[in-house]
C-alpha cells in the first residue's frame, strides 16, 4: 500500500569485484520526475537497466505501484506486466531502432503484443502515438535510416509510450542530440507528462538540464547515493562536497575552472582517506520513505 | 623384329638390347615411379621394388634378357622325379657382409614364403610345395604335392630370392634403416626415405661376367609422370624403365638420350569378373571384343606404342619356345572390328539393353581411358555400360578380394608374367585358381594345365599351352586388348642396360656402363 509509482530499495550490483551500484534507494511519485545524476561510471545506467529488468540486481527490491518487480522476469505474464509499467528510451537514437522495421511497424509491435486490438484500432492508436510525438504519415512509412536523430528519438518515445507505462526511464535520452533538437525533445517530454501523467526517471550528467526537467534529484558517486532531494533545494544549497563540485563544474559566466580543479583534488584526497564513507551523513537531508541509504552511508 | 603400328601414331621398333658398355662410370641416377615400400623380397611384387632388388638380391635361377631361364645361385637344378626339385648351391658366393652362402640360407629364404606371419606376396608360387629340406651342406630339396614345372621357373623370380639367414632374423629387415644383405652385384648403402636409395658396387660379386661398371647407383623416386619425363629430358636422371606413355613423343625426340622399346611379357586385358552376369554369355563377350576400337585405345591409352592383341597371354611371354609361339599365334582367328556384327551377336544373345559394370579408377590414366572406350563400344552394340569408380586402393583389391569385385562385370588389367613360361598366365584360368577372377571352369582346360605343368620338355609343354591358348581365345575368358612393349629411356652417356622386362629379376645395372 504505497502511493509511489516506482520504489527502489537498497539496490546493489557488482561486476566481478567491481561494485557498480551500491545500496541505491529512491522512490518516484506517479507523474513525478526524478533525475539520477553523476559522472561517468557512477552506476546510473546500471541502475536504470536493473529497474527495467535488463540486468538482475545482486540484492535489493524494486516495486512498481506496490508490486514487486525485482529480478529478471521469467514467465510471459510477468514480462508483459512489467513492460506495461516501465518503458525505457535509450541514449543513442541511431542504435535503438531496428534498422529493418519501419516507424509504423515499430510502434505497432508493442500494441500487438500487449493489447488485443483489431488491426484498425491498432492503426488508429499508432497514428495517435506518432502524432503525439510530432511525426506525420510521411515518417511513418520510412525506415529509421531515413530519419534524423531527433526524429528517431521521437519514434523511440512513441514506441515506449505504446504500452502506456507508469514510468518512463530516459537514459541520457537527449545527450546525443544537438542543443536545438534536445530542447525540442524536452518540450515534447514535458508536454507528454502533463497530458498522460507518466512518471519520468531521467538519467543524465547534465545538471543544467536537470534543473528544468526534474522535480527531484539523486546524486550518484561511485555507485552510491551521496545526496538526494528536491531539485530546487539541492541545486540551490548543495550539501555534499561532490554535489557542490558537480554544480560548480557546469560552465557559466564567472566560472573558475582552476578552483574546481583544486576542489576536485581535495575531494578525491578526502575520499581516499575514508573510502567506506563517500557521503557525509549530514549531507543526506532527504531520503524519501526509507532510511536505508542513510544507514548505509552512515556506517 | 616384331613391330607394331598403333593407330595413326608413329610406329615403334622393338630393340632387344642396347650396345654393350665400353667402360666404367662413377655414378648413375635411375628413376623409379614410386618409392618401394620395402626391400624385403617377400613383398617385392611390383615394378619398382623389383627394379631395385634385381641388382641387389639374386635368385636360385636367373631369367636372362632374352627370357631364358639359367642357373643362378643354384649351380644346378635337377628334377629327379616329377614331385621333387633338387638345387645344388653355387660354391664361393659371398653375401655383401662377407659371409658365405650355404644351404641354410637357401632353406631359410624359401621357407619364409610359407610362413603366414610373414604374409609373403609370393605365397602362390609355393602352393604345390610340401616341404623344403636341406639335403647336404650345399644342397636343398623341395618336395612337391603334385608335379610343378613352373616352380623351378618361379625360382627365377622373387619367390626364389636368397638372403642370408642371419640377416632375415634381424628386426626391421628390408626397411630403410636396416636394408638388405644379399649376393647381387650391388650392395645396399642407404635409403633417404621419400627421396632415394643408394647402392654401391659389390667388389666380391661371384659372377665375374657381370662385374658392375658403375660404382654408385642411386635410385630416385619421381611419382609425377611429367616430372619424371622432364627430369630425363633435363639429364637430372640418367634413365628409367616403364615410362608414362604420354611422355613418349617428347622422349622419342630427346637429344640427350634414347627411348627404347624392349621385349615384354605384358598384356593388357579386360577381365570379365562375373561370368554369371551379362558377360556370362559367350556371344556377348565376343561381341564386346569385336566392337572395341583397339587402335584407338592404343593411341589414347598407350601413346601409340603397342600391338593389338589376339590372345590374353602375351606372345612375349613364350620365352620357352619363342618361334613356335609365333606359329601358334598366327593360327588364332584374326580380330577385326565389326560393330554391326557385334550388335547382331548381342541381339542374338538377347542381351540388348542389359547392363555391364566396368571398374574405373584414377590409379593410372590408362584405366580411365580404356573404361571410357569400352563404355562407348558397349553402348554402340546395344549394351548398357556403366562405369563404377573405385578408389585407387580398392582397384588393387579387385585382384585379391572377391568381395571387392561384387557388382562389377569387367576390370581392366595390365598383366605381366615374371617367368618366360606362358603357363604362368594360362595356369591361372584353371578352375579355382586365385586369379581366375571370373570363375571360369572347364575340365578339359584344367586337365591340360595339369598336363603341361608335368611336362619337363619345353617344346612339349609349349604345344600343350598352345591348346590352352586356343581354348581361352575361343571362350573369350579374358578380352585381349593390346601388348605394350617394355619401355626404357637411357641417357646417351650410358649404354648396356637390357631393354626387356626381365630387368625386374635380372641384375640389369651390372651391364650398365659408359657409352664412349
Amino acid at each position: 500500500m504505497t502511493e509511489y509509482a516506482l520504489e527502489v530499495e537498497n539496490l546493489r550490483k557488482t561486476f566481478g569485484d567491481h561494485v557498480a551500484v551500491d545500496g541505491v534507494s529512491f522512490s518516484l511519485k506517479p507523474g513525478g520526475s526524478l533525475a539520477i545524476v553523476g559522472e561517468s561510471g557512477s552506476g546510473k545506467t546500471t541502475t536504470a537497466r536493473m529497474i527495467v529488468g535488463l540486468e538482475r540486481p545482486d540484492s535489493g527490491r524494486i516495486s512498481v505501484t506496490g508490486r514487486d518487480r525485482s529480478g529478471v522476469a521469467r514467465g510471459r505474464a510477468t514480462r508483459l506486466a512489467r513492460a506495461r509499467e516501465l518503458q525505457m528510451v535509450f541514449q543513442d537514437p541511431y542504435l535503438s531502432l531496428d534498422p529493418r522495421v519501419s516507424v509504423a511497424q515499430c510502434v505497432e509491435e508493442p500494441l500487438r503484443l500487449h493489447f488485443g486490438m483489431s488491426p484498425q484500432e491498432r492503426r488508429t492508436r499508432r497514428d495517435e502515438l506518432l502524432e503525439r510525438v510530432g511525426l506525420g504519415e510521411r515518417e511513418a512509412d520510412a525506415l529509421p535510416r531515413r530519419l534524423s536523430g531527433g526524429q528517431r528519438q521521437r519514434v523511440a518515445i512513441a514506441r515506449a509510450l505504446a504500452t502506456e507505462p507508469k514510468v518512463l526511464i530516459l537514459d541520457e535520452a537527449t545527450a546525443a542530440l544537438d542543443v536545438s533538437i534536445q530542447a525540442q525533445i524536452l518540450d515534447l517530454l514535458a508536454e507528454i507528462r502533463r497530458d498522460t501523467g507518466v512518471g519520468y526517471l531521467f538519467v543524465t550528467h547534465n545538471l543544467a538540464l536537470v534543473r528544468h526537467i526534474a522535480d527531484d534529484i539523486l546524486v550518484l558517486y561511485q555507485g552510491r547515493v551521496v545526496e538526494t532531494g528536491p531539485t530546487r533545494d539541492v541545486l540551490a544549497v548543495p550539501e555534499h562536497p561532490y554535489t557542490r563540485l558537480l554544480l560548480h563544474s557546469v560552465p557559466r559566466p564567472g566560472w573558475d575552472p582552476a578552483q574546481i580543479a583544486a576542489d576536485r583534488r581535495a575531494l578525491a584526497a578526502a575520499l581516499k582517506e575514508t573510502p567506506a564513507a563517500p557521503a557525509s551523513p549530514e549531507s543526506l537531508r532527504h531520503v524519501p520513505d526509507t532510511n536505508s541509504t542513510e544507514r548505509s552511508a552512515a556506517q | 623384329s616384331p613391330s607394331g603400328k598403333g593407330g595413326d601414331s608413329a610406329a615403334f621398333e622393338i630393340t632387344k638390347d642396347t650396345p654393350p658398355a665400353k667402360g666404367a662410370v662413377d655414378t648413375v641416377t635411375w628413376s623409379l615411379y614410386a618409392e618401394p615400400q620395402s626391400l624385403d623380397y617377400a613383398y617385392a611384387f611390383d615394378y619398382h621394388p623389383n627394379t631395385v632388388l634385381a641388382n641387389v638380391c639374386e635368385q636360385l635361377m636367373r631369367v636372362t634378357p632374352d627370357l631364358k631361364v639359367e642357373p643362378g645361385l643354384a649351380a644346378a637344378a635337377a628334377n629327379p622325379d616329377p614331385k621333387r626339385w633338387v638345387y645344388t648351391i653355387r660354391d664361393g658366393v659371398k653375401f655383401h657382409d662377407g659371409s658365405t652362402l650355404t644351404a641354410d640360407d637357401v632353406v631359410a629364404s624359401m621357407r619364409r614364403h610359407m610362413d603366414p606371419k610373414v604374409g609373403s606376396y609370393w605365397v602362390s608360387a609355393y602352393q604345390n610345395v610340401d616341404k623344403i629340406e636341406k639335403t647336404g651342406p650345399m644342397e636343398v630339396t623341395v618336395h612337391l604335392k603334385r608335379p610343378d614345372q613352373l616352380f623351378n621357373e618361379e625360382m627365377g623370380t622373387s619367390a626364389g630370392t636368397i638372403e642370408s639367414a642371419a640377416s632375415l632374423a634381424k628386426e626391421g629387415y628390408g626397411t630403410p634403416d636396416v636394408g638388405v644383405n644379399c649376393t647381387g652385384p650391388f650392395s645396399f648403402e642407404s635409403w633417404q626415405k621419400g627421396q632415394s636409395i643408394n647402392f654401391k658396387k659389390f667388389a666380391d660379386y661371384w659372377d665375374k661376367a657381370l662385374a658392375p661398371k658403375v660404382s654408385t647407383l642411386t635410385m630416385v623416386f619421381i611419382p609425377d609422370p611429367a616430372a619424371r619425363v622432364n627430369a630425363l629430358l633435363a639429364g637430372e636422371v640418367d634413365g628409367g624403365y616403364l615410362l608414362p606413355p604420354p611422355g613418349f613423343p617428347k622422349l622419342r625426340t630427346a637429344t640427350n638420350g634414347t627411348l627404347y622399346f624392349g621385349p615384354n611379357t605384358t598384356a593388357v586385358n579386360l577381365i570379365p569378373t562375373n561370368l554369371k552376369g551379362t558377360l556370362g554369355d559367350l556371344k556377348v563377350r565376343k561381341a564386346l571384343s569385336m566392337a572395341l576400337d583397339r587402335d584407338g585405345i592404343i593411341k589414347a591409352a598407350a601413346g601409340g606404342a603397342a600391338t593389338p592383341a589376339k590372345a590374353p597371354g602375351a606372345t612375349g611371354a613364350w620365352g620357352i619356345a619363342p618361334d613356335a609361339a609365333k606359329e601358334y599365334y598366327a593360327k588364332l582367328p584374326a580380330l577385326t572390328r565389326d560393330v554391326a556384327g557385334a550388335k547382331k551377336l548381342v541381339e542374338e544373345a538377347g542381351a540388348t539393353g542389359k547392363k555391364i559394370v566396368i571398374a574405373t579408377s584414377t590409379l593410372s590414366p590408362e584405366i580411365g581411358v580404356i573404361a571410357n572406350a569400352v563404355q562407348s563400344a558397349g553402348q554402340a552394340i546395344g549394351l548398357k555400360v556403366e562405369l563404377k569408380a573405385v578408389a585407387p586402393e580398392a582397384y588393387t583389391a579387385l585382384f585379391s578380394d572377391p568381395k571387392a569385385r561384387e557388382g562389377i562385370d569387367l576390370v581392366m588389367t595390365i598383366w605381366y608374367d615374371s617367368t618366360p613360361d606362358p603357363l604362368e598366365f594360362y595356369g591361372i584360368l584353371r578352375t579355382g585358381d586365385f586369379s581366375n577372377y571370373g570363375g571360369y571352369s572347364n575340365p578339359e582346360y584344367d586337365a591340360l594345365v595339369d598336363e603341361a605343368n608335368a611336362q619337363a620338355d619345353p617344346a612339349a609343354r609349349a604345344a600343350t599351352i598352345a591348346k590352352l591358348q586356343e581354348i581361352a581365345v575361343r571362350d573369350v575368358v579374358w578380352i585381349p586388348l593390346y601388348e605394350p612393349p617394355h619401355s626404357m629411356f637411357l641417357n646417351k652417356r650410358l649404354t648396356g642396360a637390357p631393354t626387356s622386362i626381365s630387368q625386374l629379376v635380372y641384375p640389369w645395372a651390372a651391364r650398365l656402363g659408359s657409352a664412349g
Binding site: - | A226, T360, T362
Partner: protein, 288 residues
C-alpha cells in the same frame, strides 16, 4: 586452403567492385553465376556433346569447330564436360554452404544469446573443430568412409560451420547489446521471438556474405580433393577431377583438358567473392 577469410563487422576486404568496375562488376559476377547455374541445371540441353561420349579419333585434339575447347585423352569434349562439371562443382559447395551456414548460425546465435555456460561449451566445441583444418577433416573422413563427394561434403560442412559460427556469434553478441534489441526486451517480447524476428534478420546479410565467400573456398577445397582423387570420381565430369585426368596430357602439349577447368574454378570463385564482398560492403556501409 583452409584459411577462410573472415568478415569483421565494420572492416572488410576491399570489395573488388568498389575499386574496379563498381556495380557493373557485381552485375557481371551475378550474371556469370546465373549463367553457370543455368548451364548446370540445363547441361544436357546446352552442352554440345554427351560429356562421356568417347571419340578416340579426337584424342587430345586442340580447339576445333567440333570441340571448341578441344577433347581430352579419351576424346571427350572438354566444353561439354566443363558444363556438366558445373553440376558437382556447384552442388557440393552449395550443400556445404547451406549446412555450415545453418549449423553455424544456430551455434553462433545460441552461444551469443544465452551466454554463460552454453556460450563457453559451444565456443569450446567450435575451437575444437577449428583445430582441424577443413581439408584435413575431409581427408580423414575420406580415409574412413572412402572416396566420393559425400565424405568431403560432410567434413567441410562441419569444418566451415565454426567460421560461420564465430562470425555469427560475434555479430550477434554486438547486436544483442544494441539498444534496439534491448528495447524489444523491455517491451516484453520473449527471447525467442527477438532472436528469430529481429536478431537473425539483422545479422543474416553479413553471415550470408561470409557464406558467399565460403562458397568459393568450399569449391576450391572440394576441387582440390577431387584433384587428389578423393572427391568426385571418374568418369563423372567434375572440374577438379578433370584437372587430375588432364594433367598427364600437359606432357603432350595439350593444355585445354587441365587448363579449362582450372580457369573455370578461378572465375567462379572470383565471382562468388565479388558478390560476397559487395554484400558485406553494403552491410558495412549501412552500419556507418
Amino acid at each position: 586452403m583452409t584459411a577462410v577469410p573472415t568478415i569483421h563487422r565494420r572492416r572488410f576486404f576491399a570489395p573488388l567492385s568498389r575499386v574496379v568496375g563498381g556495380d557493373k562488376l557485381v552485375t557481371a559476377a551475378l550474371a556469370l553465376l546465373a549463367l553457370l547455374i543455368v548451364a548446370a541445371a540445363f547441361a544436357p540441353l546446352i552442352a554440345p556433346h554427351d560429356p562421356d561420349a568417347v571419340d578416340l579419333s579426337a584424342t587430345l585434339s586442340g580447339s576445333t569447330p567440333e570441340h571448341l575447347l578441344g577433347a581430352d585423352q579419351s576424346g571427350r569434349d572438354v566444353l561439354s564436360r566443363l558444363i556438366f562439371g558445373a553440376r558437382t562443382g556447384l552442388l557440393g559447395p552449395l550443400i556445404v554452404v547451406i549446412v555450415s551456414t545453418v549449423l553455424g548460425m544456430l551455434i553462433g546465435v545460441t552461444a551469443a544469446w544465452h551466454g554463460g555456460v552454453v556460450d563457453s561449451v559451444l565456443s569450446r566445441a567450435m575451437e575444437l573443430i577449428f583445430s582441424f583444418p577443413a581439408l584435413l577433416l575431409a581427408i580423414i573422413l575420406v580415409a574412413v568412409f572412402g572416396v566420393g563427394l559425400t565424405a568431403p561434403v560432410i567434413a567441410m560442412s562441419v569444418a566451415y560451420a565454426p567460421y560461420v559460427g564465430r562470425l555469427a556469434r560475434s555479430v550477434a553478441l554486438q547486436e544483442k547489446t544494441r539498444p534496439y534489441i534491448q528495447a524489444y526486451r523491455v517491451q516484453g517480447w520473449s527471447g525467442w521471438v527477438i532472436c528469430v524476428k529481429h536478431l537473425l534478420p539483422n545479422i543474416a546479410p553479413l553471415v550470408l556474405a561470409q557464406s558467399a565467400i565460403n562458397f568459393g573456398y568450399a569449391l576450391m577445397d572440394l576441387a582440390a580433393l577431387s584433384f587428389l582423387g578423393f572427391g568426385v570420381q571418374p568418369p563423372t565430369a567434375d572440374w577438379g577431377a578433370m584437372i587430375n585426368e588432364g594433367a598427364p596430357s600437359l606432357l603432350q602439349g595439350a593444355m585445354l583438358p587441365a587448363l579449362a577447368p582450372g580457369v573455370a574454378i578461378v572465375i567462379t570463385v572470383v565471382a562468388f567473392s565479388i558478390v560476397g564482398e559487395s554484400i558485406a560492403d553494403r552491410v558495412a556501409r549501412r552500419e556507418q
